[in-house]
Subunit: 429 residues, 2 copies
Amino acid sequence: MTDNPDKLTERRRRSLGPAYRHFYSRPLYLTRGEGVWLFDNDGRKYLDCYNNVASVGHCHPHVVAALHRQASTLNTHTRYLHHAVVEYAEMLAATLPGDLSVCMFVCTGSEANDLAYQIARAVTGNDGAITTEGAYHGNSTLVAELSPDSGRSHPAPDFIVDVEAPYTYRGSFAADHPDVDTAYADLVDGAIATLRERGKAPAMMIIDNIFDAHGILTPGPAYHRSVYAKVRAAGGLIVADEVQSGLCRLGDHYWAFEDAGVIPDIVTMGKPLGDGHPLAVVATTPDIAAAFAKTQHYFNTFGGNPVSATVGKAVLEVVADEDILANVGETGRYLKAGLVELASRHELIGEVRGKGLFLGAELVTDRIDRTPAEDAVHRILERMREAGVLIASTGIHGNVLKFRPPMVFRQQHADLVLAALDEALAETV
Amino acid sequence: MTDNPDKLTERRRRSLGPAYRHFYSRPLYLTRGEGVWLFDNDGRKYLDCYNNVASVGHCHPHVVAALHRQASTLNTHTRYLHHAVVEYAEMLAATLPGDLSVCMFVCTGSEANDLAYQIARAVTGNDGAITTEGAYHGNSTLVAELSPDSGRSHPAPDFIVDVEAPYTYRGSFAADHPDVDTAYADLVDGAIATLRERGKAPAMMIIDNIFDAHGILTPGPAYHRSVYAKVRAAGGLIVADEVQSGLCRLGDHYWAFEDAGVIPDIVTMGKPLGDGHPLAVVATTPDIAAAFAKTQHYFNTFGGNPVSATVGKAVLEVVADEDILANVGETGRYLKAGLVELASRHELIGEVRGKGLFLGAELVTDRIDRTPAEDAVHRILERMREAGVLIASTGIHGNVLKFRPPMVFRQQHADLVLAALDEALAETV
């Protein structure tokens, strides 16, 4: 039952504790969602240009109907036979290239990345893990250690090594470096050498293909090809973390790694798969699955249950039926062009990055020193919220505006975002 | 769409891989559930005396309706304000004794136990963890290390120490030991000393209050009181893993630790909370939550979302409205008395254990040597399945029949189980 927002905020502080944070200085109390629209407790409408979990739109009727139908019929687990999980695995495998035909089911992206490490460790016999500085891959104890972005309240164990991300705007190599992709890829040699000095070898390197927490990066194909080759030569597997970048999000393929023409050994998928329902997947090859099964059985109580699998199927059906991939490509290009146009008029925007419907605008107080304009970001987020448009921020300095809407976002919605942002930027000089 | 079970099994083997296991030698293909009943692809009816996830019965209409209503309305996350998660946290807190008034939301019991360790480590400044030999607490990398039951494909790190569980039927101290509870509790001194030798101290000890994977144990209050005191004196917190034993399962209280009159520092809850929906919780005190928040923020994409929280509320409503606690107490006593009666006639049953609707019957080939009768267990599970009754096995030797039905199980259902088991035992001499 809706409550006064101030009272509810206070009740929340008591019952959820202070480790929880809100978006916005004045918490936004949302009570209804539909497509790309969210509504607050006063009935006020917001354009959602941020939430990727509601991948095919808030409360998509086809997904809700599937959820309701299966939840009314049966919900057990994978120790019984059921068609939904098999059908869903087959549908997912059909979207994946190469030999990636085996799916294992979990509930969250954190669980998927955690399981990926367990598989990589079992299959390679190594225990090292390479991750990128600034990455966020989830919140289990192990995965938080793979996530320098979380601030690592506890030091990373010696089997984890960080490598610089291909952040051309601020990193060791600028975009105009003649071999910028391979220059960044070559840094992985150092990480492998560090593991070797510790008597270790990589079980895996994990890569978020959109480098969300770093500030949204899209290195060229040469980066991925070179990194894949180096890690594999050292005995490790490649884990493509597609929790953020997957399921058509980047507009050209179902999975972001396809942009680089590479095929990882393990793919982890999460947030968007269930349009809000807790559903995540680890996909791999039959060989890797078989090698893992030699040492371990796998069971996850809720993972791949009939309801979750049915919801996952319904989302894939919507993605195909509504031609989501084409829309993401088109709308994404349109929105990015609009951001680039804004950058031509607003000095605050240092760089526009990203692809499909995962775009970033890095704000700087000046374009020469590139000083991060974190305060401006906060003011703009609040100003946009007042204007009825929800976006968020990301990046290692927290100074990148993030545009990552439900994938049913259209050009007319992009126009609303661009107009609101234009005004907010003008007011935030 | 239903398929030929053999074909479906083969498709499953290909698409889920060999790490997945089935119950039963011939996989059971379930297609519908209702209350305590499950139906297979041929329309055959099975009495479910095993599945605790469907805590208030398969497809409970009140829970399904709540799920459908909220999934049709809004599903976001805890960075926006929403009443459902606050109301659910308050309802859960009202079931908990003492100061356990703060709830943090995750999706699985594994995530709950993993977060509990992170909290304990942050709050105590220690990193040691004590667990019981034979325990199962989940499957994240860290929690698998806390779970000797999983066989630990990888050696446990040096901050984890196992301690013998209070297994009076086979352990170091028999039930007729004059101070059996404190004798087992005293073993924790050794675990603390081992940590100390390694330059460590306990952040926590984690206890599954029904010791499910050990074979279902219910040590007396003195065990818990003494263990709590020892761990706390060494600077650690007590984590009560109520994923199996919680939510009225043991028949006298909402939470199993209440049977011993103790109050843990952290309570983890999982499986039964959502009647099938992926929902899990970490409950703790305001002081511990505040100390944790000093070093860390917390966010879990799906944890505590409006749909999950609404489902959790609906389950608690059913638990109260249908007086589940009283039913579990009554039906549990009736079923246990029936098992004890069977033990008086069937030599195969070495010991009947457990409480409420979490009961075990340990099978032995002879009562003197207590040789585990694992083969007999398998034959009985298959025989019971043929008779239309689903139970399972547990225990460090896999020789304990496990009875853990949905909590809407009634005496007439218990009669069916006992009759089927009587026959199966007679045929399995």
